[in-house]
């Protein structure tokens, strides 16, 4: 996909962040309390913490949570690596607590080490099926996180090692990972405390990342 098409698709898909369908309690969500704020802490390509917010509304008769977040890994150098997400979580179907929803997020992330600074635009798409009661929920999730186009800006250190290195936007996709897992949570006074955990697998299925799993604790508040 070209960068133009990607950006166009971001506009079309309401550019957004990752996977709230699993951790928002749909049984507690209604448009009388449309504002969501949340915090997360866990492991996903490193030890990370994130903050975000959202707004619950209706689109074509479907409940939709527009949301955005920023995630930062721990480390001695703050803000050199980061991931931001902007997108929507849509509840498509619900019957007696059983709910099907999807997450569509546009992703911007950056990375920096001794050799290079990377900027990346990607997408994160996932589907969630779960059971949501008034005070608890349980759900399963599958998703795909794609790094679509990446800009490489090498440091003088790497350029001294390999002077012919080419900086700029690289495409097609430089990477992608599937993930699947389970989540559960408890809700009281419109607070939801949830957790999710699962496995991450390279898009080519031959290997996983160095940390081939994810897991996080989340706190959500609707008001």
């Amino acid at each position: 996909m070209s960068i133009q098409k990607y950006i166009a698709s971001l506009f079309i898909l309401l550019i957004v962040q990752q996977s709230h369908a699993q951790s928002i309690n749909w049984n507690d969500a209604d448009t009388s309390r449309p504002v969501l704020i949340f915090g997360k802490f866990g492991v996903e390509y490193g030890v990370c913490y994130s903050l975000g917010g959202g707004y619950l509304t209706q689109l074509l008769g479907f409940p939709i949570l527009l949301n955005a977040s920023i995630s930062l890994p721990v480390g001695e150098t703050p803000f050199d690596d980061k991931k931001t997400k902007l997108g929507a979580t849509i509840k498509w179907y619900s019957y007696k607590g059983f709910t099907v929803s999807t997450d569509i997020h546009g992703v911007y992330r950056s990375y920096e080490n001794t050799y290079v600074h990377l900027d990346n635009f990607g997408s994160d798409l996932s589907a969630t099926v779960g059971y949501y009661a008034s005070h608890w929920f349980f759900a399963g999730q599958v998703g795909f996180d794609k790094a679509i186009a990446t800009k490489y800006e090498h440091t003088p250190v790497y350029q001294s090692i390999y002077p012919e290195v080419v900086n700029g936007w690289y495409e097609p996709a430089s990477g992608g990972n599937f993930y699947y897992g389970l989540g559960a949570g408890a809700t009281f006074y419109h607070y939801t405390i949830g957790m999710r955990a699962g496995k991450i697998l390279n898009e080519n299925f031959y290997a996983g990342p160095m940390l081939p799993f994810y897991g996080e604790l989340q706190v959500h508040l609707l008001f």
């Binding site: 506009f11 001794t114 790094a147 090692i161």
Partner: protein
């Protein structure tokens, strides 16, 4: 400006600098089979980046780099041994540095014999440069290169007349696992660990996508705060990710043993270890070197793992003088 106009402007700006990710030469250097200007030799069907310095007929010193998957760039200080009259030979091992790449199955299909492939390659390098059957061969191996040198000395004890091993991680699989674990035991909260793991969402690459995987390995190996090696001074030309993965996979499956036959190698061995490699204390040096019949330990102060050879001051004032003393004693 309308939204459509702004969108068109942004996309035009971005598309102006679009390029291709794994085109040869974009992120990592070409290899000897891709670039005929790279000095190379043919050994056992592979084109190996290689150079030799010093008098052709004098005692050979084969410099064996670490990894698996590093290259000899960081060992170039050893070139000065030629000034002492030795024939100093460098080569990038198969799939490493600027040598030819092969698919992972090329190694894994050989099973435990993949180690023999590495021994045969070293024997081929020796044969390529040897000018007479009487010409002596000294091996100078660093890290994985020290492990390979030890395995080779046990496999071909009559082909080696001297051996310097600089911090070989371990010579039996259990020790290799211990050393790799210790030397990569970064704190969960550290920048080093997160720099390594965070990258996985940017770059993946197919199993045999050499350009991408070699580049990624270079980023991962840029520094190590435990072994205190820093490849920021041009430590490697190009990493060899596929051979690295292939040999580790074989090691795990077959629990390789590089001590086989070492009891037949009775020539004194010079065994070096550094002050700043926290994963290589004296106790570990004593443990690993005990596989040799006759090894003498040498402590290199103020150096990390690669600094034993890569740091020019350490090399000129500490490492090289001791190596020359050792060679002259043989």
């Amino acid at each position: 400006m309308t939204l459509q106009g702004a969108f068109a402007l942004i996309t035009m700006l971005l598309s102006a600098c679009t390029t291709i990710p794994d085109a040869p030469g974009n992120l990592v250097p070409l290899t000897a089979d891709q670039d005929p200007s790279i000095p190379a030799i043919e050994v056992n069907g592979a084109r190996l980046h290689s150079e030799a310095f010093g008098p052709e007929d004098s005692t050979m010193i084969i410099c064996i780099h670490g990894g698996p998957g590093a290259d000899y760039k960081y060992m170039l200080n050893c070139m000065s041994l030629a000034e002492s009259g030795y024939r100093v030979i460098f080569y990038d091992q198969i799939g490493s540095g600027l040598s030819e790449r092969f698919d992972k199955s090329y190694y894994t299909d050989k099973g435990a014999d993949a180690l023999t492939l590495m021994y045969d390659e070293l024997a081929g390098v020796i044969e390529h440069y040897r000018t007479s059957p009487e010409q002596k061969v000294y091996l100078l191996g660093h890290s994985w290169g020290g492990m390979l040198a030890a395995g080779f000395a046990g496999y071909h004890p009559d082909m080696v007349q001297g051996l310097v091993a600089c911090e070989p991680g371990g010579l039996i699989w259990e020790d290799i696992v211990t050393y790799v674990s210790t030397s990569r035991a970064f704190s969960l909260w550290s920048e080093t660990l997160n720099d390594a793991t965070y990258l996985d969402q940017f770059i993946t690459g197919d199993e045999n996508d050499h350009e991408t995987l070699d580049y990624k390995l270079a980023l991962l190996a840029s520094e190590n705060t435990i072994t205190n090696e820093y490849n920021v001074d041009g430590g490697v030309w190009r990493s060899g990710a596929v051979v690295n993965a292939g040999l580790f996979e074989i090691g795990m499956e077959y629990e390789v043993d590089l001590t086989i036959g070492l009891e037949n190698f009775t020539i004194p061995v010079l065994f070096m270890y550094s002050e700043l490699n926290e994963a290589y204390p004296l106790s570990w040096a004593e443990h690993v070197s005990s596989a040799f019949v006759n090894a003498s330990l040498f402590y290199v102060p103020n150096a990390g793992h690669s600094g034993i050879i890569q740091d020019p001051v350490i090399w000129n004032t500490i490492t090289q003088p001791r190596i020359l003393e050792y060679f002259q004693s043989l």
